[in-house]
Symmetry: C2
Subunit: 116 residues, 2 copies
Amino acid sequence: MKVISLEDTARTAVDRPGAQNLWKQVPISARDGSPSFSMRVFTVDPDGHTPYHSHASEHLNYVIRGSGALVTESGHEHALKEGDFALVLPHEKHRYRNTSADGPLVIICAVPKEYE
Amino acid sequence: MKVISLEDTARTAVDRPGAQNLWKQVPISARDGSPSFSMRVFTVDPDGHTPYHSHASEHLNYVIRGSGALVTESGHEHALKEGDFALVLPHEKHRYRNTSADGPLVIICAVPKEYE
């Protein structure tokens, strides 16, 4: 059993192609003994976004704070706001981006432990 | 891909032994095509709690709102507040309970899709 607050979880900048103004935390993962999946948290600052990418694993998201968009392969933008859940299926190309001028978009991104 | 707000997700009372003042929502599950796990949300009203139980699946939790406790087999209470994450391993006996007098405890409870 483990309990940890988000504010006590280490935060690192995501420095990879396609990422901008992006931070990551990993409160729960296989390193804690989680048998099958992990919970990461991404903070997307204004003008920021994740890479536009796809992969063999799904994402399950919850929006903790802020407003943004989940961008699909066709360019369609699903609006995201606090209290929203999202499911991105394997191989669906996607990007999360912040659409507000003045505050971060903070989202949970749960994935199979093999992905992270 | 699916986006749904918590407020638009159907809510049902949990009526089983050991549950009190407890409500459940399931924003994402295998019914949406989720390949490996589900996100449920439990609302525990004041004086409420989940059953005191254990099972072969893990729980990954995030506290959306309120304050409460994660009670262990020995009776120890890990305090829970908004912004906390928790991991309950398979076969760890546990209960979530609301410790505030005036507001709900609202938590995400992610589980392998075989569990729900």
